[in-house]
Amino acid sequence: MSVYLTRFRINTARRGARKLLGSPHTMHAAVRAAFANPEDHEREGTRTLWRLDAPAPATVHLYVVSPGKPDLTHLVEQAGWPTTDTWDTRDYDGLLGSLRNGQRWAFRLTANPVHNGRLTKDAKETQRFGYLREAEQADWLVNRAARHGFTVADQDDGGPNLMLHRRQNVTFRRGNGSVTLVTATYDGILDITDVEAFRRTLTGGLGHAKAYGCGLLTLAPVR
């Protein structure tokens, strides 16, 4: 069973890019269309996750982690550079295999921090509510880190080594209705505590709204 990490750079000047960046629903469909076989998109214990990163103004990267190799030709044609730049797909297994308990990594995660509750005291159904405050969003990740195989490292002042940015409410159309999500991007340092659970986090995601660009946790060396 193998997993792949893919990076695709979006040409923000193109009309196709506007359409994709404007709606996670459209982007989800485009990512889904990158896989000819259903098992390349979703497999037992592994699913396709994606995230948008903007490392510099006017530079937007689409990262995809998937159980099969994606073919992003349609994205290049609509929202890329068809004659010069395509996409990079790398084998993720080497990294997954080299992870050990106690390792420390820098990470980035865009997630949908929510809790379940009732709108009124006597409401029959429970529903999801987004955490809107920065402190609540940070606590959300710190509290669920353990069951995903890691802990957020401490800073010198004792607080978690976390920085939240791009905290936003995203609203987009789906069919005749609309979807509203609270998202936040977490940058921080983590320590691996349970490597099996942590591998499942990297390939299976963390939190809700995974189809809509949330839940993909990526690693980088600590500097």
Binding site: D53, P55, D88, H165
Partner: protein, 231 residues
């Protein structure tokens, strides 16, 4: 050469260069006609009077905090309430901060600095409903317009800096020098503000960026997951 630097900041600003009829647009940065109009207002020059000395100034602006474009859908009725006026869309820049500079004769610039501190007519940023937040003039500085716009302190708010990256480059839009390669030409060189026959000439403009500015409180932008899987 001397440069008079201006801090153009307000909850709302609106800088029109090409509005027609019911859509009153705003540019993304202050226009030369708008800023020279502000200086003329400070001086107490009436619209029908000639602008002579102001017309020789070179103009440039830096986008320290670009702000957001917002739209106002405006309805109006005549005073007796019987007729409705045309529906208009008015566009504004919300929460923007700009560094603008005019360069020219030092004596003239010192006079304009004094006038901005004690203006004859009320000052506003593009539209009468957009008064400036804080003093407009940052004083007269020696040097070339390009250098001053390149190196002057970044005027953005702390909140905006926290949301920006740790290294930023600010966009500059300024008058082209003779013979310089022009980015675009806009109908924004004021000739006369006389309401009976307003006149603008074409203005060649150069767009560029400052060098990288370090922003210690900003967001890290160096997360590259590909480094671990072979670049």
């Amino acid at each position: 050469m001397s440069v008079l630097l201006l801090r153009l900041a307000a909850p709302l600003q609106s800088w029109g260069a090409s509005s027609r009829f019911a859509h009153r647009n705003t540019e993304i940065a202050p226009t030369k006609s708008g800023v020279l109009g502000l200086l003329a207002a400070a001086r107490g020059i009436r619209r029908t009077e000639p602008l002579t000395e102001l017309l020789e100034l070179r103009f440039g602006v830096r986008l320290d905090q670009p702000g957001q474009i917002i739209r106002d859908f405006q309805t109006a009725r005549s005073l007796d309430g019987r007729d409705s006026m045309p529906l208009t869309y008015r566009y504004y820049l919300a929460d923007a901060i700009f560094l603008a500079g005019v360069s020219g004769d030092a004596e003239l610039l010192h006079g304009l600095h004094d006038a901005l501190r004690r203006p004859k007519f009320p000052l506003y940023l593009g539209r009468r409903s957009c008064p400036p937040a804080g003093p407009v003039s940052l004083g007269v500085h020696d040097g070339e317009l390009e250098d001053r716009l390149d190196t002057f302190d970044w005027l953005a708010t702390e909140q905006f800096k926290k949301k920006s990256y740790q290294s930023v480059r600010l966009e500059i839009i300024r008058d082209a020098r003779p013979g310089e390669r022009v980015s675009e030409t806009v109908l924004d060189e004021p000739v006369s503000f006389d309401p009976a026959h307003r006149q603008y000439a074409w203005r060649p403009v150069v767009r560029s960026h400052t060098d990288r500015i370090a922003n210690a409180v900003g967001v890290a932008d160096d997360h590259d997951p590909m480094t671990l899987v072979g670049g």
